[in-house]
Each structure stands twice: as structure tokens, then as C-alpha cells.
Amino acid sequence: MPLILPLLLAVLLFCIGVYGVLARRNAITLLMSFELMLNAVNLNLVAFDAWRLDGLATGQTLAVFVITLAAAEIGLGLAIVLLLFRGHGHVDADAARDLVEQDATEQRKGAAT
């Protein structure tokens, strides 16, 4: 099997993930896109591992680590998203803009009240 096949597949998955991250609004869909990107990573690792065959299974081990890492990330990420939902009532990543700098006068008003 040509090595290039899994590698190209990984590139495609990664870029699809990038597209999802940039184009989607719902924070949960963003997280899903990240998963696609991490899968691309794993695909790379496993393919290279199979190519190298160094007997240490380095790539596969790291792939397992990455999967675990992804689990940890998604766990915390979903907690944050839920917290955002509790506060804002929505989970649109591009609509959470409380923290952008307000005009100075408005802020002073805000501080006074």
C-alpha cells in the first residue's frame, strides 16, 4: 500500500477540520471539527508507524495518547460550553463578545452604575 494514501487522507481530514473550525458557529460543532483534526494526526502517526516499523510502536503509542488527550479536552470543553450556555443562553462561539473592549465612556457609565 502506498504510504501516500493515508497521508493524503490525513491532510484532507485535517483541512476539513480546519474548515469546520473556521466556518461553524456552534461551539459544539467546533469541538467536533477538532476531533476530525486530531484523527488526521492519528492517521499520520499510525501510517508512519507502519512505514517505519521500528518495533517500538512509537506512533501507535502516541496515537493512543492523543485519543486520551482528545477525551480530556472534549470533557473540559463541553463543560465550558455548558457554562457558556448557562450564562449566555446560546453556544454560538462568534456571538460571545462581552469581553471586547467597550468605548471608554460607556465603560465609565457601566462602572458608575
Binding site: Y19, I67, A71
Partner: protein
């Protein structure tokens, strides 16, 4: 044989992924994610990384997607199509992604275009296990700290405030 298997699984993965990032129904996207991840697991299998494929299915399909679905429920995600799910930036995003794909693809083809993979079925679970406990002890231990910290963090964030 493995090549054909890989090609099929890869095609499924790509198609499913595209649907994941383009579907207007968010729940559909989550479900298609299952398909994509499963297909990738198939790819792993085709590369004779059975252990990784197993973990992929267990952790991703079994845990992560379930979590995502729960989260969708909790955030009252609608099941009907939502045209605003993809923002107006999508053409731009697509352009960037395409450029990136072009760059990476060219580089990869130039670098590895002539290489062949000859995966051997070598009980990869044992290999991975040995590697983890013989070589990668430190990252593994740190990973446990990470899981614990993420867990506690998630719990802490999910708790209501005391006043509530």
C-alpha cells in the same frame, strides 16, 4: 486487500467528515461524526493498528460522541435544519482550508510519494503496551494527571454556585 479496504474506509471517512462540517442539522453532524470516526478506525485496522482502532472505537464512539450528544441535548440544540450553523465566512474558510490542503498535499506527495507501507500484523496491543510501560512511562503518568485535572475541572465548572 488492505489497500482496497483502506481506500473504502478512507472515502467513507472523507465523505462523513464533509457532512459533519457542512450539515445544517447539528445532531446529524454529530451522528455523521460517528461514521467518520468509525471509518478512520477502519483505516487504522487496514494499517494493522488494531489496538489503536479498538481504542478509537471505544473512546471516541463510545465516550466522546456520547458526551457530545449529551451536550447537544443540554444546550437545547434544535433537530431541525439551522441555516445559521455555518457562518458567512464559510467561502473564505474553505479557501483557506483548500490552500492548506494544497500546500500540505504537495509537500507530502513530494516527500513520501514513492514510499510503500507493508503493514505486518504483529499483535499491536502488546507492542503498544510494552512501549507505554517501558518507554513512555513519563508521558503516560502525566497523561493521568491531565485526565484527573480535566475531570476535576469539568466537575468544578459544572457545579452550580453556592448561592444558587
Amino acid at each position: 486487500m488492505t489497500t482496497a479496504l483502506f481506500c473504502v474506509a478512507g472515502a467513507v471517512a472523507v465523505v462523513a467528515s464533509v457532512i459533519v462540517v457542512t450539515s445544517r442539522r447539528i445532531v446529524h453532524a454529530a451522528l455523521w461524526l460517528v461514521v467518520a470516526l468509525g471509518a478512520v478506525a477502519g483505516c487504522f485496522g487496514a494499517l494493522h493498528a488494531e489496538f489503536v482502532a479498538l481504542v478509537q472505537i471505544l473512546v471516541y464512539v463510545g465516550a466522546i460522541v456520547v458526551l457530545v450528544l449529551f451536550a447537544l441535548m443540554l444546550t437545547k440544540a434544535p433537530t431541525n435544519p439551522l441555516p445559521t450553523l455555518t457562518s458567512g465566512r464559510s467561502p473564505f474558510a474553505a479557501a483557506i482550508a483548500a490552500a492548506l490542503a494544497l500546500l500540505l498535499g504537495t509537500g507530502v506527495v513530494l516527500a513520501f510519494g514513492n514510499e510503500k507501507v507493508d503493514p505486518v500484523p504483529d499483535g499491536s496491543a502488546e507492542a503498544v503496551g510494552t512501549a507505554v510501560f517501558k518507554t513512555w512511562v513519563l508521558p503516560f503518568e502525566v497523561l493521568s494527571v491531565l485526565l484527573l485535572a480535566a475531570l476535576i475541572g469539568a466537575i468544578a465548572l459544572s457545579q452550580r454556585k453556592k448561592e444558587d
